[in-house]
Amino acid sequence: MGVKYWVAVLGLGLSLATALPLRAADLPSYNLSVKDGRFMPEKLEVPAGQKFKLIVRNEGSGPEEFESSDLNREKIITAGKSAVIFIGPLKPGTYGFYGEFHPKTARGQIVAK
């Protein structure tokens, strides 16, 4: 496996990355902020049966990881940045999420109605 092989692998990876359709879907979006181990709001209501964008803004001084096993989602958000996470459509119910880097205090729920 020489240089050619790696060039091919890299080329394939890059073309895949750029060819992916980056759909800026017009979905409803909901905002959440996290600051030093606390989410705001800690309870977020969303309509059930509809896909939506969750925009999580990290207003704290350090990075945080939004994580939810209920929603099957995980994403790191560095300080001062926002992250978009696509969720749903959800069945009616309560879905917990937490900040992996502050699992004791950073906890919240998404309630789909």
């Binding site: 496996m1 692998v9 990876g13 895949l16 990355a17 992916l20 359709p21 980056l22 759909r23 800026a24 879907a25 030093d36 181990g37 704290g60 001084s61 350090g62 990075p63 945080e64 990881e65 096993s69 209920d70 099957n72 989602r73 995980e74 994403k75 790191i76 958000i77 560095t78 300080a79 940045k81 992250a83 978009v84 996470i85 696509f86 749903g88 459509p89 959800l90 069945k91 992996e100 880097f101 699992p103 004791k104």
Partner: protein
């Protein structure tokens, strides 16, 4: 301190298990430890870089950078793992013969370790970058004194490594007649699980449709967020409520590796026969 240790442990666990399996799969190969160490060192360096450029990665590709990056790394590791299985199936016997000669053993070891060293490096890079970001966060927020943070981090790292060691030692207890079959299966399942994880990232970024939101839900029996859940997630790709795309990726990887091993794994090696013929 304990909180720090637990979080670091959870992150280190996956990489440690991967290393444990790789070590068992390469038992007896010359310079194996050199290759695995190289993988770990490169992974740690990579983890630092990824953490340093976390902002850039996240902002890339209209905000989908992190998901594409993670899934890219996972899928690359899947290819390496699959390739390793095919390669070992094809050259295993030839290797066993060549390994009697010390000089040959080193060459053979290098050839077969190459792909798995990359897998080790990628696993360390992915999990390690999260550890680096997490520790950086603690340092910035000054929640803990730096001494507590370092001891917590070390405790987590050591316990994670201990799990990897347990995995390795456990596998070595298997009779050497079956060890190769077992590690081949473990590597296949590892690959399938990584593919499912990659599919999860791509659906999260809305680049792939989930097909079905939740194929089943076994979170009440074994939660994925629990430590046993995490271990099983790494080993066999356990997801407590996977979406359709994850199941599809999982199955496709299992089938692809099995088919490729059949198609390309059994070709007779004429080279060895010639060498043997010349030798006698």
């Amino acid at each position: 301190m304990l909180a720090t240790a637990i979080i670091v442990f959870r992150e280190v666990l996956e990489a440690a298990l991967v290393i444990g399996i790789v070590l068992a799969a390469t038992q007896g190969l010359a310079r194996r430890n050199v290759w695995v160490s190289l993988g770990i060192v490169a992974g740690i360096a990579g983890a630092g870089l990824v953490a340093l450029f976390a902002d850039v990665i996240s902002a890339a590709l209209a905000g989908a950078g992190q998901e594409v990056f993670n899934s890219g790394i996972l899928l690359f590791a899947v290819v390496m793992l699959g390739w390793h299985n095919v390669w070992m199936r094809r050259h295993g016997r030839e290797m066993a013969q060549q390994m009697r000669d010390v000089g040959q053993a080193i060459k053979v070891g290098d050839r077969s370790m190459y792909m798995l060293a990359v897998v080790v490096g990628l696993a360390v890079l992915r999990e390690g970058s999260e550890v680096v970001l997490f520790l950086y966060g603690i340092a910035v927020a000054q929640q803990d004194s730096s001494r507590l943070m370092i001891s917590g981090g070390l405790l987590g790292l050591l316990s994670g490594a201990a799990m990897g060691l347990l995995m390795y030692r456990g596998l070595l207890r298997i009779s050497s007649r079956y060890l190769f079959t077992v590690t081949t299966w473990l590597i296949t399942l590892l690959a399938a699980g990584m593919a499912a994880q990659a599919a999860g990232f791509l659906t999260q970024a809305d680049l792939l449709p989930p097909l079905v939101q939740s194929m089943w839900d076994t979170s009440s029996i074994l939660a994925q967020s629990s430590i046993p859940g995490r271990v099983l997630q790494t080993l066999v790709g356990y997801v407590d409520h996977p979406n359709g795309m994850q199941v599809l990726f999982y199955a496709a990887t299992l089938v692809s590796i099995a088919v490729l091993m059949r198609l390309y794994g059994n070709a007779p090696s004429t080279k060895v026969q010639t060498v043997n013929a010349l030798g006698t």
